[in-house]
C-alpha cells in the first residue's frame, strides 16, 4: 500500500478518533499501573510475607486468562450487576461504556506484565546496597526512592514498555466490558475489527500504526535494558564488605 494512501487513510475520522482514544486511555492506564504496581512489586520482592505468593498469583492471573474471560471478570466485578456495581452507582461513578471502562480493561490485562518484570527487577538488586543505605541513616522511603528505584529503573522501564504494548493490543476485554463507540471507547484494535469489511485500507493503515508502535516499544525495551544494565551492576567493593549477608 503506497505511503500516500496510508497517510490519507490515517487521516480519516475513524483512525484519528481511534488513535486519540487509544493513547489517552493507555497513557492513563500506564500511569496508574506504574503508581500502583511499583510499590506492590517492591513489597512482593523484599518482604517474605505469607500473602506474598497469593498476591503475586492474583496479579499474574490475567496473564493466563483469555481476554474474553477477562472481559467477563471485569463485568462480574465492575458491571452494573457485578460485585462493585452497586457501590459505584451510589458513589456516582459511571463505569459503563466510557473511557474509564477502557482504562480498567487495559490495567487488568497489562498490569501483570509490569508487575512481574518489576518484581524480578527488585529481586535482582544486590541486597547490600539498600542495607548500606540504611546504615547511612536512610528511612524505608529513602531506601525505596533513592536506592532501589534508580537501580531497578532498567527493569522497570522494560516492564512498563511491555505493559504498554500489551495494553495497546487489547481487544476482547475492551469490547466486552467497555463496548465500541467511535471517539469514546473504540480503540485501534476495535477500529481495525470494524473497518476490515467496511474500508480495508483504513484497517490496514491502523494495523500499520499498531505494528510500528509495538516495534518501537520492543526496541526501546532492548535499548533501555542494555543501557541500564551497564550502570546498575553492584559495586564490587560494597559486595565484599562485612555487612553483606
Amino acid at each position: 500500500m503506497p505511503p500516500g494512501e496510508l497517510v490519507s487513510a490515517l487521516q480519516s475520522d475513524v483512525a484519528k478518533d481511534a488513535l486519540v482514544v487509544t493513547f489517552e486511555t493507555n497513557l492513563i492506564a500506564l500511569a496508574l499501573i506504574l503508581v500502583l504496581g511499583t510499590p506492590t512489586a517492591y513489597w512482593a520482592a523484599t518482604r517474605q510475607s505469607r500473602f506474598r505468593d497469593l498476591v503475586v498469583t492474583l496479579i499474574e492471573l490475567p496473564l493466563v486468562l483469555p481476554p474474553a474471560v477477562a472481559g467477563i471478570g471485569l463485568l462480574a466485578a465492575f458491571g452494573r450487576l457485578g460485585l462493585l456495581g452497586g457501590t459505584l452507582d451510589t458513589l456516582g461513578i459511571d463505569v459503563a461504556f466510557n473511557k474509564v471502562a477502557v482504562v480498567l480493561a487495559v490495567i487488568f490485562v497489562a498490569s501483570p506484565f509490569y508487575v512481574r518484570t518489576a518484581v524480578s527487577a527488585f529481586e535482582a538488586l544486590d541486597p547490600t546496597l539498600p542495607a548500606a543505605a540504611r546504615t547511612l541513616g536512610a528511612g524505608p522511603g529513602g531506601v525505596f526512592f533513592r536506592v532501589a528505584l534508580p537501580l531497578a529503573a532498567g527493569g522497570l522501564g522494560a516492564g512498563a514498555a511491555l505493559a504498554f504494548a500489551r495494553g495497546l493490543g487489547e481487544f476482547g476485554a475492551t469490547i466486552m466490558f467497555a463496548g465500541s463507540l467511535q471517539g469514546v471507547t473504540q480503540t485501534l484494535s476495535l477500529a481495525i475489527y470494524e473497518q476490515f469489511d467496511l474500508d480495508f485500507d483504513v484497517a490496514l493503515a491502523i494495523s500499520a500504526v499498531l505494528v510500528a508502535t509495538s516495534a518501537a516499544t520492543l526496541l526501546s525495551v532492548k535499548l533501555v535494558t542494555r543501557w541500564r544494565s551497564t550502570s546498575s551492576s553492584p559495586i564490587p567493593s560494597v559486595a565484599s564488605s562485612p555487612l553483606s549477608s
Binding site: 450487576l81 459503563a96 469490547i175 463496548g179 470494524e194
Partner: protein, 252 residues
C-alpha cells in the same frame, strides 16, 4: 533418561495421531461434517437442527468478508440478502435462496433501570442504548426501524455498536445496557433476563435471510442437501418454533 523421553514422545505421537484420525473412522459411512457460516441470530436454531455440522456464527458482514478471502466454507446463511448477493455477483457462492424472515424488537433488562415502556420512551428518557454496528444486518434493520418511526434522533443515545446481534443481547441481558435492538428470536433464549417491547408491524423492515452453497465447496452435494433440508418442512418447522417468520406467500 533419553530413552524414557523418546518413549514418552512416541506415546504422545501415537495418542495424537489416533485422536486426529478417530474423526475419520468413527462413522465410516457418514459424510464429513460441513462447515457452515451463519448469521449470529441463527445460533440456537441451527445447532438444534443439526448439531453434527461445524458452525461459525458471527455478524453476516464479517462472515462475508471471511468467505470472500477464501475461508473453507460449504454453506453461508446470511441475515440480509446484501451479503449473499454480493458473494453471488462475485461468483463465490451459487444462487442464494431466501429461507426465512424475522422481526425486530426492543429489549430491556428485567430490572429495567431506565424505565422504558415503549419505543417512544427512548426519545424522552436518558438511556444507554446498544445496537449492532451499521454494517451488520441487525444494525441496518435497526436504522430502518428508527427511520420509519421518525425516531432516528434516538441514535444519539447509543453507547456501543456491537459486531453482532448476540453481543447486543448479551449486554442487555447482563444489565450493562438499558436497552437494545435485536431480533425477536434473540429475546427468546434470554427471556428470563430481558423484557421485550414490541415494535409495531408498520415499522418493521423487510427482513429476509438467504442461504447459499459456496461454489468452491469440496462437499457440494452434501451442502446442497443441507440447504434443501433447511428449506424442507423439517427446517421450516424448526425455524417457526424458534420464532422466525414464515416467508410471505409471494416471496421476493
Amino acid at each position: 533418561m533419553r530413552g524414557r523421553l523418546l518413549a514418552i514422545a512416541g506415546l504422545v505421537a501415537v495418542v495424537a495421531s489416533a485422536w486426529l484420525t478417530s474423526g475419520a473412522t468413527a462413522r465410516p459411512s457418514a459424510t464429513p461434517p460441513l462447515t457452515i457460516y451463519a448469521a449470529a441470530s441463527l445460533t440456537e436454531v441451527f445447532k438444534a437442527l443439526d448439531g453434527a455440522q461445524h458452525f461459525s456464527f458471527a455478524g453476516s458482514n464479517a462472515l462475508e468478508t471471511q468467505i470472500r478471502n477464501g475461508a473453507p466454507v460449504d454453506v453461508f446463511a446470511s441475515a440480509a440478502p446484501l451479503n449473499t448477493q454480493r458473494l453471488f455477483k462475485a461468483g463465490i457462492v451459487d444462487k442464494p435462496v431466501t429461507f426465512t424472515a424475522n422481526r425486530l424488537a426492543l429489549i430491556v433488562p428485567k430490572s429495567n433501570p431506565a424505565g422504558i415502556r415503549s419505543i417512544y420512551d427512548l426519545r424522552s428518557k436518558p438511556v444507554k442504548l446498544v445496537v449492532a454496528a451499521p454494517a451488520v444486518p441487525a444494525g441496518g434493520y435497526t436504522l430502518s426501524v428508527l427511520r420509519k418511526m421518525g425516531l432516528s434522533s434516538v441514535l444519539s443515545k447509543v453507547v456501543s455498536r456491537e459486531s453482532d446481534v448476540k453481543a447486543v443481547t448479551g449486554k442487555v441481558a447482563l444489565g450493562q445496557a438499558d436497552a437494545g435492538f435485536v431480533y425477536v428470536t434473540d429475546a427468546r433464549p434470554v427471556s428470563d433476563q430481558v423484557s421485550v417491547i414490541r415494535i409495531p408491524a408498520w415499522a418493521q423492515p423487510r427482513v429476509r435471510y438467504e442461504i447459499a452453497v459456496v461454489s468452491k465447496s469440496p462437499n457440494k452435494t452434501a451442502a446442497q442437501a443441507w440447504v434443501r433440508m433447511i428449506l424442507s418442512a423439517k427446517g421450516q418447522t424448526a425455524l417457526k418454533h424458534a420464532g422466525f417468520l414464515p416467508l410471505p406467500k409471494a416471496s421476493s
